[in-house]
Subunit: 635 residues, 2 copies
């Protein structure tokens, strides 16, 4: 950010090394799909990464690595609808890297949800041009997106050739460390040019067989009037494109509008998604109308979700305001009113890129307090994503020898555990157990989310139809994972991992007297388990009598089991040390103090201590260090 | 029905000419899919019509008829999962038509949602056997269905060969008068045998590209123990089947269980629907467990939806009870708690066959009073089916020169008008305009449904997010279709059809002084339009201030338009005749009296008077006759 206002993120120069971060921060989305803030002339390379993602648009691929078959489910990078570029007199296609940039301004307008870019530049022939684009991913009509591009021939006359494309050759290449995995998630189903000026591309994910259709209409205007243009079909394989040429005189300008309709085979109210996209584009309005309805939709959202400082707008407050707006903006682009009618969760990294593969962790817990009070219908929908995966969570619990439902740490399409169980250490070539799926506390988070939603929305119908069933299954899981320690006359939870990912197992000197992986009696987990059991009992009391009976029968919930829940909730072991400090987990106090100053002096930035220590052949497991709040989450 | 109890529809003999009606009445379903009550050995022919239908499972096909291309959207008959038959010692496969039936009993157990059939029979070789089947379409797990078949060798010993299949060769052939239309809606994607005893068939609808996967596991048991059996793959093209042989001694019995998992590409919480079906079948319980959970689900439904007579159970009441239970049973098999998570409406003929092509008319209006008070979450979901098609209804209004939203008389996948605009008179070979799409009163019905739901459920959130927008758009439509008659100083609605389908246009002697098709000033339509406008104004008052503002802005609803609504609602023309009788439509009194006695004497059953008159070259349009309640609907 080189400049800013309370409602705008503004960059006033082009910085190649900052571009990927900016693309993420300038992502536009509407809860249904999102597109990164890459330029319309950009291709995936070291500097740029255009990416378009569909909420819940997953695909699974297998890769053989070091003799082992690994399967990953990814949020698929959809065909790039952005391509819109031009050249003068058969010269090179526009590139920021080959021209002399005279001025540059990129602005993310948070209030209206529009990404703007204006560039003035001089090419090698000394021709000066000005370029301005406005882009939106429509917040009212979830299937639409649009861009308007204006070109000015400042000091030259000549032909300008416009190229508009839909690029289906894309792969998932947004995350460097996934690069050795298979990444070809799409196959082309159909590509054609409709009505002369409209591109149509339909692809299908290779395994999950989700069909995605994009139809894009490109039209030119001068002085507000349509310009007749002969479009030439320049399709190459899965990259479908049109080129057309128009003459400009010195000082003249031409405006190009590219309107997109995107439909998938998972959509409601369609016959076939290709037909839906074609119909939508044939009915689509012009950019200015789309901008108007889109801005109104954002105005409505801000009216409901906006947060402003009451105090005088000094420099500090204005900056804080921008940051607040930016966070809300991106949250609403992932979890929007459209989410209510989708089967999706809240991915850890939003729909902004490919990190964490678009998986759903426990992040609802952090956004619920904000959303619950403003539009609880959205949080209800995120909980329905969990409810639909309750049977899978029940199977997972059963397979692990527990009762009830065990939701996964990483959840995708089906709700199976998407966390890798092993990961390959590239240095040693060995497969190392990955304990992070043992973050069972996600099951406390989901229960907590249900309860928070119920408390705020007072939605007893949700509790009866969906919430209570999930909650009671989760309570049952906690009761079954807890074991009774005769010696201490306390219940314990062994073999889990807390929120702090620097600690996934005991160091060698503490491991010998234990069996099983991961840690014992993580305080956060144990306390939350008690909370779930208490609340589970409370929910049983809260339910209308017929529903209570229904669940007791459906779950074969006996008085005996209810007494067990009471007993566990009153006798859970919480480990303390140094006379009153809650231990993050059992024997945390026997870990070594970390030499903070030494490492800070040696490395400077020690934010990713885990990587530093691993590179030294060491592990954070040995030290009193924390990556995430763990015990502190309790307060 | 040859016998009955309050909770059972019982047939005690096999009646070939009654079979198709019985199959419809013995349909089992769960709101997600349904299967007609055909025998497991039956194939589609003159007597039997096995059919399985998915809620919202439509496909479009074009047919050239008399030089014109006609497109129809049908509810697709899915692969038949029922096939389960047998033969003795390489003899003929079992058929009711070739054996001597000693006893026959078919029972639809409404309380538990189970279809039972038991047959004792003797074949040409004098071998007596007993056959008993129990079938269910699971009411808790919407993807599952199951059959249990028991065979007893009463007076013989020998080999019995079991054949279990999934038949993907099916077409839509359930309605005689559609037989000249294309009816091949499915293409095979994959068929294979899994784990020796499991059939897997995946098909795709030809145009809408919905994928349907069926996985069926067949296992044999004797004395409660599994019987090892060598299954042989007998697949022929899209008919995938297994055959296995087991020896029976005189008096012995064998039980066959066939469990089905059915998933489609439109399902939630799946990666790919074939994988989902395979996973589900690998986890599937045995028949007895499925029966238990299924019966419990029905018990819960009856607890909520059951209706009993308070009086003494005399013969009359018991019969009325059965009829009541039967209607509720079938309604719940079409609109079940599973409907809440589906994008479907209530088809005129349920999921019980192919008549009306599974289209959605105005039938919600008749079932809402029942469902609203018992599980308004279902009616809310049916209204969401409409809401998702609001944009299509807006386009339809615009295309017809009106404002707001004009929902279609027949609605399918997208919400476009699915009613044929022309129909071919096979006698004359001429294409005749079909005015039935002019039953605009469906737009009053939808508004009425919204209001009823809101009144019963008090669901202001629904009204704000969805209901009001639909309602106001419908009100706007009525205001725009009404025209002002200067001479009478009244508003009129011209060119529509009322609910009575015997009247779709004026007879010749009344037509000359009119332009446009259909009828003028249908009283039901005009009064309901006034009702919609009144309630539209009331809803504007009811809405929270921010929502009111939101809609006025989104719809550009001005004070002027609101005043127009008021004016129309106070000055609508209702035509009366004979000094106080409401005319069904303008000039109804100028129609001829019908010669009831003559026709009754000539034809006996005159229920389909339209067909009788058309065969005579006449039309009901000339007479004072009614097929449906029209004016009476107002009271």
């Amino acid at each position: 950010m080189t400049h800013w206002s309370e409602w705008s993120l503004i960059y006033e120069s082009f910085q190649p090394n900052q571009e990927k971060l900016r693309e993420a921060l300038c992502t536009l989305g509407n809860g249904y799909f999102a597109t990164r803030g890459a330029g319309h002339e950009a291709r995936a390379d070291d500097i740029h990464y255009p990416g378009t993602y569909l909420a819940g648009g997953y695909n699974r691929l297998q890769t053989e690595i070091a003799g082992r078959m690994v399967e990953n489910e990814d949020l698929v990078n959809l065909p790039n609808w952005l391509p819109l570029t031009w050249r003068i007199n058969e010269g090179d296609w526009f590139s920021l890297h080959t021209v002399d940039i005279l001025s540059y301004r990129q602005e993310l307008d948070l209030k209206r949800g529009v990404l703007l870019r204006s560039v003035r530049f001089r090419d090698e022939q000394g021709r000066q041009s000005a370029l301005a684009t406005r882009r939106l991913v429509h917040m009212r009509d979830l299937h639409m997106a649009a861009v308007e591009m204006t070109l000015v021939a400042e000091n030259w006359s000549g032909d300008i050739t416009i190229r508009s494309g839909l690029d289906g050759r894309v792969i998932n290449a947004g995350v460097e460390r996934y690069k050795d995995l298979n990444h070809q998630h799409l196959e082309c189903v159909d590509s054609t040019v409709l009505d002369r000026d409209t591109l149509f591309l339909q692809v299908q994910t290779t395994q999950s067989k989700i069909r995605i259709a994009e139809a894009a209409r490109t039209r030119l205007f001068q002085n507000g009037e349509p310009v007749g243009i002969e479009w030439e079909d320049k399709t190459e394989a899965a990259y479908i494109a049109l080129e057309g040429t128009v003459s400009l005189k010195k000082g003249e300008r031409v405006t190009v509008e590219k309107i997109l309709a995107l439909y998938t085979s998972r959509d409601h109210a369609i016959s076939e998604n290709g037909l839906a996209a074609r119909t939508a584009i044939s009915r689509a309005a012009r950019f200015s109308d789309l901008l108007m309805t889109h801005s109104k939709a954002w105005a409505n959202l801000w009216q409901r979700f906006g947060m402003e400082f009451e105090e005088e707008a000094d420099e500090e407050n204005r900056k804080a305001s921008l940051i607040l707006h930016l966070h809300i903006f991106h949250l609403l682009q992932v979890c929007s009113p459209h989410t209510m009618d989708l089967d999706v969760g809240a991915p850890a990294r939003g729909l902004h890129g490919e990190a964490y593969r678009g998986h759903i962790f426990w992040d609802e817990m952090f956004i619920f307090p904000f959303l619950n009070f403003r539009m609880p219908e959205i949080t209800r929908s995120l909980l329905m994503y969990r409810y639909r995966r309750l049977p899978e969570a029940q199977c997972a619990a059963q397979a692990a020898g527990y009762h009830g439902a065990m939701f996964p740490w990483q959840s995708g399409s089906t709700g199976r555990e998407e966390t890798q169980i092993l990961h390959l250490n590239p240095q040693s070539g060995r497969w190392i157990p990955d304990n992070s799926h043992r973050q069972r506390h996600v099951n406390a988070a989901i229960a907590y989310d249900i309860w928070q939603y119920y408390q705020v929305a007072g939605d007893m119908k949700f509790l009866c139809f969906y919430g209570a069933e999930m909650f009671l299954n989760i309570a049952r899981f906690w009761a079954s994972i807890a074991t009774y320690n005769d010696k201490l006359a306390r219940y314990e939870i062994l073999g889990v991992m807390g929120p702090d990912e620097y600690h996934d197992a005991y160091p060698d000197h503490l491991r010998s007297d234990r069996h099983g992986p991961a840690l014992y009696n993580n305080a956060y987990t144990n306390v939350m388990a008690v909370w779930v059991l208490w609340r589970g009992l409370e929910i049983l009391e809260l339910l209308p009598e017929d529903w209570r009976r229904h669940f007791c029968e459906k779950l074969s919930l006996t008085e005996e089991e209810i007494r067990l829940w009471e007993s566990i909730s009153q006798n859970m072991r919480i480990v303390f040390h140094d006379g009153g400090i809650i231990s993050q987990f059992e024997d945390y106090d026997r870990l070594q103090e970390f030499e903070w100053e030494t490492y800070r002096a040696r490395y400077g930035d020690i934010q990713r201590l885990d990587r530093i220590l691993e590179a030294e052949g060491d592990t954070p497991n040995r030290y009193k260090v924390s990556k995430q709040a763990d015990v502190l989450m309790l307060f």
